[in-house]
């Protein structure tokens, strides 16, 4: 029968002080978290551990008495993930308790080899499990952050801008997948209806790769816009992308394509019977500003 928890309980203050000392040596990012907070977290954790009375449960962390400790660790890891700690720094919180426990065990059972070994194995196991749980929670916390960022990006990534009365542009940035393309398609078509635009320019300068799937999505969007009575111009096709498109055998012959957004805009203006002209070159550019 292990006596480890009992040993910790009777040496609580010494263990806590040693633990905090170890942690202070381990944490390099002092700027992210202050000592008082760490100390408070460690005290709460240690009190929760010594509150567990059933020594036999220490081997597998099962049972309801370990639940508060697990939750505490999970909260701690999630908050560390948000604060920007690395996984190792987060796991160090628990791992730095290990040498303290070993020291304690050595003082208590130093002259009895059998018990010493048994207690060390139990302590080692115990701390490792806590550390693994911390890392799991840390990763779960970071996944949450990533998921939220992805959602935000999806919302932010499809701005439809009005270039001129009746001409809208959709600058696409980033990789296109099915979910995003659906959002892109819908927002473009809705913008066409809302602004009554006869011309829509899809600019793919910021799209890193174009494969058959992306091309198919683009063609669908263009066809849908055409069905609604708007004309789509595809612009911003980089040389590498042009090569890929031809190599893949994607048929863009029915789509009007331009190399640059400016060219596409010029074409849209031309087709809506507009023209951009240079004003009288004799007038200095700064003149209107001076009049104001």
């Amino acid at each position: 029968m292990s006596q480890l928890l009992e040993a910790i309980r009777s040496n609580r203050d010494a263990v806590l002080n040693e633990w905090l000392k170890n942690m202070r040596e381990g944490i390099s990012r002092r700027d992210l978290i202050d000592d008082a907070e760490v100390s408070e977290q460690a005290t709460r954790m240690l009190d929760a551990i010594i509150a567990v009375t059933d020594e036999s449960r220490i081997a597998n962390l099962a049972g309801s008495e370990w639940q508060p400790i697990k939750e505490m660790l999970a909260d701690l890891s999630v908050s560390r993930a948000v604060q920007g700690f690395t996984p190792s720094e987060t796991a160090l919180f628990v791992l730095s308790l290990k040498p303290v426990l070993f020291q304690l065990i050595r003082e208590r059972w130093g002259n009895k080899a059998g018990e010493l070994f048994a207690e060390i194995t139990i302590a080692d196991n115990f701390i490792d499990r806590l550390a693994l749980h911390t890392t799991d929670s840390y990763i779960a916390g970071r996944d949450q952050v990533i998921g939220r960022q992805q959602e935000e990006m999806l919302e932010l990534s499809t701005p439809v801008v009005t270039l001129w009365d009746g001409i809208v542009a959709l600058p696409l940035i980033g990789t296109l997948d099915s979910a995003r393309t659906q959002v892109v398609m819908e927002s473009l078509l809705q913008a066409i209806v809302r602004t009554n635009s006869r011309f829509a320019i899809i600019d793919i300068t910021g799209v890193p790769t174009v494969d058959t799937l992306v091309a198919q999505h683009l063609l669908k969007t263009i066809t849908a816009a055409k069905l609604m009575g708007a004309e789509c111009i595809l612009s911003g096709i980089r040389p590498q992308i042009a090569q890929t498109i031809v190599h893949l055998g994607i048929n863009l012959e029915e789509v009007v394509t331009k190399a640059k957004l400016a060219d596409a805009f010029r074409l849209a203006l031309e087709r809506s019977n507009r023209r951009v002209t240079r004003t009288n070159s004799a007038t200095p550019a700064a003149a209107p500003a001076q009049e104001r």
Partner: protein, 131 residues
């Protein structure tokens, strides 16, 4: 409602679909419209589907058929005001309606019809290929 009204505006016919199309209604419209075109000798047909929110492959095909039939009867056909959801559905169904003229709203559709029926033999007025 078992019939969609067909309005006459000078040389053009105006059809506004304001109810959910079902198959029989679409076929009735096809019959009515073709006979009306030949009766009045219409030069252009404008079909406004801005209130149509649900479309299936049959309705899509009927629209395409009506447009082709009108063209055979020498009347230019424009479908106007298609909703984004309808456009997406048709594309997902693989129906890009290649022969159909489309316009954003009735105004632009009428403008197109005027340019392309009264001025004989001119090219596509509104997409700027001429001039």
């Amino acid at each position: 409602m078992d019939r969609i009204p067909i309005l006459r505006m000078g040389p053009f016919l105006l059809v506004t679909i304001q109810v959910d199309m079902h198959d029989k209604l679409a076929l009735t419209l096809q019959d009515d419209l073709t006979s009306r075109i030949s009766d009045v000798g219409a030069r252009g047909v404008l079909i406004d589907i801005s209130s149509l929110e649900i479309v299936d492959s049959f309705i899509g095909r009927t629209l395409a058929n009506i447009a082709s039939m009108s063209r055979v009867l020498d009347a230019e056909t424009v479908v106007v005001g298609m909703q984004p959801a309808v456009a997406i559905t048709l594309v997902e169904l693989g129906m890009s309606l290649p022969g159909i003229r489309t316009a954003l709203n009735v105004e632009l559709g009428m403008e197109y019809l005027r340019q392309n029926t009264i001025v004989e033999g001119s090219g596509d007025g509104w997409d700027g290929s001429e001039d």
